[in-house]
């Protein structure tokens, strides 16, 4: 008798729990799952210049393979990704160590350190556009006062990728640093004491003890940054729109322009699905790496 009552309460509870999750699940299915399925379908459609839609089979995907702009965009995406990720991880770990050793940091300092990545990326782009202006910008003035030649920064086809990587790294290195700092603070102090007794130098302690123990945290930071970096959009769209020429035309920028400037929705869908597959692939690869370096 009481058993049935217990089952009844349990069933009721399950139902209530499902009801609590339902709005979020229904919203996500309506706004994400269904649209993604729809995108897959759109990827098989051809949109004519008059907006007429017809079934195209795999035409969009075969176009993608022979499209020079796609391969160029993939190259730009990967170059920008690798450069930015390396910069942000290296300087992020450095900044985390500096912050870790500066005990009793006042809250205002922490606020200043998080300010770059709380700022809209679009604003960061506007700001750096002015600072990096080739003729009147403050950056070139600083270069020249050190006797260095001025640079064209965002206006130079060969420098635009490193420059965008620099802007993004200015914005997100403190974020990586805060994640790594969290990892540093959770390391057991006993391992350092042992190293100190053995008389290990600070550099050796870092190389042999801190870095290996931090690796899982660093990989986590790498995953979180990879997801954003592979779909790089805001800063490029506001500063160069993929230019000069097509020098900073990442896949996300290219897909957006194909879709909303040329209104070739079908081909844009094929491009975006390919980019999504790349992002998920990177996340899965890093997840395996995280498993390998866990302790």
């Amino acid at each position: 008798m009481s058993d049935t009552a217990a089952t009844l309460t349990q069933d009721r509870q399950k139902l209530e729990m499902a009801a609590l999750s339902a709005p979020a699940v229904i919203f996500t299915v309506a706004m994400i799952a269904f649209p993604v399925v729809y995108t897959i379908w759109l990827g098989f459609q051809h949109f004519s210049s008059t907006g007429k839609q017809s079934f195209a089979g795999l035409a969009n995907y075969s176009k993608l393979i022979s499209d020079y702009e796609f391969w160029h965009g993939l190259w730009v995406t990967i170059a920008l990704y690798v450069l930015s990720l390396v910069l942000q991880l290296v300087f992020g770990v450095w900044l985390a160590l500096v912050l870790f050793h500066a005990k009793r940091l006042p809250g205002i300092v922490r606020s200043l350190f998080i300010s770059p990545f709380m700022m809209p990326p679009v604003v960061a782009g506007m700001m750096w556009l002015v600072i990096l202006d080739p003729s009147l910008g403050a950056a070139n003035y600083i270069l020249q006062s050190f006797g260095l030649p001025p640079s064209d920064w965002l206006a130079s086809p060969s420098l635009v990728i490193p420059t965008v990587a620099l802007i993004d790294s200015w914005q997100w290195t403190p974020y990586v640093a805060l994640i790594v700092l969290g990892g540093l603070q959770s390391l057991p102090p006993s391992v350092y004491e042992a190293a100190q007794i053995d008389g290990a130098s600070p550099f050796r302690t870092f190389q042999r003890i801190t870095l290996p123990l931090l690796l899982p945290t660093i990989v986590t930071a790498a995953i979180l940054r990879s997801v954003d970096l592979l779909r790089f959009f805001d800063i490029i769209y506001i500063t160069t729109q993929g230019g000069p020429g097509n020098a900073s035309n990442t896949l996300n920028i290219y897909g957006f322009r194909v879709g909303f400037e040329f209104f070739n929705i079908g081909y844009a869908s094929a491009l975006m699905l390919t980019l999504t597959a790349i992002v998920f692939g990177a996340v899965l690869a890093f997840n395996r790496l995280r498993g390998a370096v866990a302790w």
């Binding site: 209530e16 729990m17 009801a19 609590l20 999750s21 709005p23 979020a24 699940v25 919203f27 996500t28 299915v29 706004m31 994400i32 799952a33 269904f34 649209p35 993604v36 729809y38 995108t39 759109l42 450095w94 500096v98 050793h101 500066a102 809250g107 922490r110 606020s111 350190f113 300010s115 709380m118 700022m119 809209p120 604003v123 506007m126 750096w128 002015v130 003729s135 403050a138 003035y141 200015w170 974020y175 805060l178 700092l181 969290g182 600070p202 945290t217 986590t220 979180l224 997801v227 779909r231 959009f233 769209y237 506001i238 897909g255 957006f256 909303f260 869908s269 999504t276 992002v279 998920f280």
Partner: protein, 275 residues
């Protein structure tokens, strides 16, 4: 002993130098932006750049006169507050249910939006919203931005709900409380600070979001971020007004972030790191 003490002293000094260097690199661009926004127009583009000048509000006045800055700001506020409210409304019960039942797929499902490029959703949304004539509506903008706020609310609140001892709920259950009642009357007051942090983070990231409003808004509903192009202008050097716009757009998220900086780390990593 004295040797070790001297080394220690030098290491601490070296660290301070590095801390200051990092601080300057991080702060200088923002300081330059704010300074430029208060410069008289002839000084903004002065070369060599000037650091000493008589501050003026001209750029801010010019901005409100030559662009519909205030109505863009109002649009941003409507979309951001709307999407944050929607995120909280759907996210709070979902986070509670996930924490209680340990069935995590609803939370993981919402994360998909955090991983896929926004254009992937924007293409079908554009086709769908156009068919029902919703392009340019606040509804379309609020719904699209809720895709950003919902996972933030859920993942920030999950650890907070997890932190409540089970016995609290079990006692309430014995007293015959329904699950929904437990959530609103018992659990929610206990995680109030988590709700505040999640609301602020959701607000910041919705305010900062660029891509969706770029396509889904029209002249009347354009948000500040999507209107950024209007301030840059075609080959103009109205840098003063541009920097004034940039400063004003960045102000709300920066002020809010400073308020909750202590709790931000775990929230920003969507639970990947306990801050």
């Amino acid at each position: 002993m004295t040797d070790a003490a001297t080394t220690d002293h030098w290491i601490r000094r070296l660290n301070l130098v590095q801390l200051v260097l990092a601080g300057v690199l991080i702060m200088a661009p923002t300081v330059w932006m704010v300074l430029s926004s208060f410069k008289p127009s002839f000084e903004v583009t002065a070369y060599p750049p000037t650091l000493i000048f008589t501050p003026t509000l001209d750029n801010y006045v010019e901005l409100t006169k030559t662009t519909p800055f205030l109505s863009y700001a109002l649009n941003s506020l409507i979309v951001t507050v709307g999407s944050t409210a929607l995120g909280l409304l759907f996210g709070i019960p979902a986070a509670f249910a996930v924490s209680w039942t340990r069935i995590s797929w609803p939370a993981i499902l919402t994360l998909a939006a955090r991983m896929a490029p926004g254009t992937l959703f924007l293409l079908p949304w554009y086709v769908m919203f156009r068919q029902v004539g919703m392009i340019g509506s606040y509804t379309a903008l609020i719904l699209s931005h809720a895709v950003i706020t919902l996972p933030i609310v859920i993942w920030v609140l999950l650890p907070s709900f997890d932190g409540i001892p089970r016995s609290v709920f079990e006692a309430a259950q014995v007293d015959g409380c329904s699950v929904t009642r437990i959530l609103w009357r018992i659990a929610l007051p206990l995680v109030a600070s988590g709700v505040a942090v999640s609301a602020i983070l959701a607000f910041v990231f919705s305010w900062n979001y660029f891509l969706f409003a770029l396509v889904l808004s029209n002249g009347d509903t354009k948000t500040l971020i999507a209107a950024a192009f209007n301030f840059i202008g075609e080959g103009s050097t109205q840098w003063g007004a541009l920097m004034a716009a940039a400063t004003l757009i960045a102000l709300p998220p920066l002020v809010l972030a400073a308020l909750v900086q202590r709790w931000l780390v775990s929230g920003l990593t969507l639970g990947a790191v306990k801050g």
